[in-house]
């Protein structure tokens, strides 16, 4: 793995301090470890808070490094702190005993979940202390920015990115190099770079992990992008639901400014850049780029028609480059290893690696970064270990509320932009939610539709009123009071909302319905009202799943 490793201390305990593990008791464990460590004053053993160690479902995670290799422990209660310390020490009877005692917490690093990963974006995630720029620098952070500023022209940078074949990781998969060129080639004037960290798709937490685990990588990627397109101002728009990510990002920016990595004349060049954090306030639609820009400008996040694209006219009318966290974070590695190196991974149309957040009815939940084109089945069944009770996977939902459900029989499909689109789903930002056999597809479709109802900005009528009608139609299916005509109406309205909505939210809102209709149509047909069952629609309120009311307005 081409990761520059700093002079590794002989022995260290890396404790995951990302929100997943924290909520599972990571803080208490870290405190216990420190207390125990201070008490017996172990020499040569470092306790290091780091970012995400991937297998979030088994948190809190602790990696135990030593010359004999790394052992990973999961779900460690604070009472086991002393054992961990002992196990981290050199070989010996005591260490042996402690290791034996911890055996039930040990996680197999040779398991496909870890073995099949190909970290690029996450290469130092879990290695580096997210709150220390010195540690980041020791892991090579800002090395590429320094080199780029000294050695490459903006055009050379863009060429390298274009050569890598990197496509936007936010969901739509627009070629990154092309976007950078578009911004760079606008008439002279100010430009802005914006990082979209408004990761709102339910089931997606890749960007949060990067922000919490390795914020300097993102800053470096943004700085390189700013240089490449001629911007001197940058914004990171983070959703407010990620307080830890915001805190660490702000700290990292402060440290970067202090170190002169941001500011005027960076690394002695004449390139200057300021980056500000803008915090959202709970609006999924702000992940849409035009809405995001308005939100940065302190307004309601209501998308506007494109063209003109933000690359032509964005923040305050100036050309604006918008990429998401993962896209920017892939940039330093691409410049370090070269675009060709990156392009060698993945498939013809989808180069490189992609980070996925694996969750739902799956044994191993957490973050995986794999080369594009890996079959979905490998991700879900081999890496994820399938459904916990051993039953069959029914479907995998990708792309969040804009995506769709891919049925079990199509799990051999390679994960890339085009294949997922062909199946009626989409890559989206990388959430992958596994569904077991008990999951009802009309219920899932309604779940997403209610989400869209809730998150629609209300500007255009197909999305504002169409999603409400779609949710109501889906209610009829879930509650077994639909008629055959409702199925027709459902499909027709889905088509209309998809074709006529103003922005991606509305355009994609019907996708969960259309994809479940495509693969699980029989479930909708089975939900049609029995002919004998013809009381007035309003009297039937309780559905077979007992779920009668939702959270939609």
């Amino acid at each position: 793995m081409p990761v520059p490793q700093p002079e590794s201390p002989a022995r260290q305990l890396r404790c995951c301090g990302a929100s997943g593990c924290r909520s599972a008791g990571g803080d208490a464990l870290l405190a216990a470890l420190r207390t125990a460590c201070d008490a017996d004053a172990t020499e040569g053993l470092t306790i290091k808070p780091v970012g995400c160690l991937r297998l979030c479902g088994r948190g809190p995670l602790v990696a135990c490094d030593g010359p004999e290799g790394t052992r990973l422990y999961g779900a460690v209660p604070p009472e086991r702190a002393a054992d961990l310390l002992a196990a981290a020490r050199e070989q010996g009877a005591e260490a042996g005993g402690a290791r034996a005692a911890l055996e039930s917490h040990r996680l197999d690093l040779e398991h496909p979940f870890f073995r099949l990963q190909r970290p690029v974006v996450l290469e130092t995630c879990g290695q580096v202390d997210p709150e220390s720029i010195d540690d980041a620098l020791a892991h090579g952070a800002y090395g590429q920015l320094r080199r780029v500023l000294a050695e490459l022209t903006p055009k050379q940078v863009r060429d390298e990115v274009r050569r890598s074949g990197l496509r936007g990781r936010g969901g739509a998969g627009y070629p990154t190099g092309l976007k950078w060129d578009t911004v760079a080639l606008q008439p002279p004037g100010p430009r802005t770079v914006v990082c979209n960290a408004d990761e709102g798709d339910p089931g997606a937490f890749m960007d949060r992990s990067v922000l919490e685990s390795d914020p300097h990588r993102l800053i470096e990627g943004m700085a390189i992008a700013a240089y490449a397109v001629g911007a001197d101002r940058g914004y990171v728009y983070v959703r407010a639901e990620y307080p830890l990510a915001i805190e660490r990002l702000r700290l990292a920016l402060q440290q970067a400014r202090r170190k002169g990595v941001l500011g005027r004349g960076i690394f002695g060049s004449d390139f200057s850049l300021t980056i500000e954090v803008r915090v959202g306030a709970g609006a999924y639609v702000c992940g849409e780029e035009t809405a995001l820009l308005l939100s940065i400008q302190g307004q309601r996040g209501m998308p506007r028609p494109r063209p003109p694209y933000p690359a032509q006219s964005g923040l305050w009318g100036a050309p604006t480059l918008i990429n998401n966290v993962e896209t920017f974070s892939a940039v330093p590695a691409i410049l370090r290893e070269g675009g060709d190196w990156y392009a060698a991974m993945g498939t013809e149309g989808s180069r490189g690696t992609k980070v996925f957040a694996l969750s739902g009815a799956v044994r191993h939940t957490g973050l995986v970064e794999v080369p594009m084109g890996m079959p979905l089945r490998t991700v879900v069944e081999e890496m994820g270990g399938g459904v916990p009770d051993g039953s069959a996977v029914k479907a995998v939902q990708t792309g969040g509320p804009s995506g769709g459900c891919i049925p079990e029989e199509r799990l051999d499909t390679p994960v890339d932009y085009e294949s997922l689109l062909q199946l009626g789903s989409m890559m989206g930002s990388g959430g992958m939610v596994v569904m077991g056999e008990t999951t009802s597809m009309p219920v899932v479709a309604r779940h997403f539709m209610r989400f869209s109802v809730n998150e629609s900005c209300g500007k255009c009528v197909p999305c504002r009123a169409g999603t409400v009608q779609l949710a109501e139609l889906l209610d009829r299916f879930v509650e077994h009071r639909a008629e055959a005509a409702d199925l027709e109406r459902l499909e027709e309205l889905c088509g209309m909302v998809r074709a006529t909505s103003l922005c991606g939210l509305g355009q994609a809102a019907p996708n969960p319905v259309l994809s479940t209709l495509r693969w699980f149509r029989h479930e909708y047909e089975a939900a049609l009202r029995e002919p004998s069952h013809c009381e007035p629609p309003d009297t039937c309120t309780v559905g077979p799943d007992g779920e009668t009311r939702g959270y939609a307005p």
Binding site: N454, G458, V461, Q469
Partner: protein
Amino acid sequence: MSVVTLRVNGQEVAVPAGASLLEAARAAGVELPTLCHLEGLTPVGACRLCLVAPEAGGRLLPACATEAAEGMAIRTDTEELQRYRRMAVELFFAEGNHVCAFCVANGDCELQDVAVAVGMDHSRFPYRYPHRHVDASHPQFALDHHRCILCTRCVRVCDEIEGAHVWDVAMRGSQCTIIAGLDEPWGDVEACTSCGKCVDVCPTGALFRKEDTTAEKHPHAERAELLRRAREQHQWSNQ
């Protein structure tokens, strides 16, 4: 002035650079239905009625908010577009409480006209009968939220022409509502100059003069453009 040429329904038209597809369509003698759009106000592309289909394929474009480009070819009236327009009008009717029979704008209502134009006489989607209210706190005017289609013409005319910015949109999604001030009674908002432009440009009976009763509203939507031209170009044509 540079000119772009494009094709509308197969017919070649030339329009000044910077013109919208809506203007191009009009130059070709094609009238597209519109509700949110109004000459003189910034286009928002919200009502989706003026969507047109590029012959080259790709997403439908709101004609009001899309600049005409050289060599472009668009269709304005495909069977699909007609179907979508009809459904959009159905959705408008189903989401509010539009009772033409005693509406102040009956007979002079753009929503009604559009419904007639697209051939919509009832909504196939259930009427939602939302609970809304009427704000009649202003001494001269009133706002009936039941009839509001959220076109935001009032918001824009007040902001862009009058400069008072009394109105804005609050909440989101199906909860969206036009508000005055801090969601206060209109009559309590001191910023209002009582100029009545919002009433003039409202396409439905949502904003009206209080003395008007059923079918007595006769709006003057053209005022936005006339005023803008007067202000920006010092040309007056509304003598």
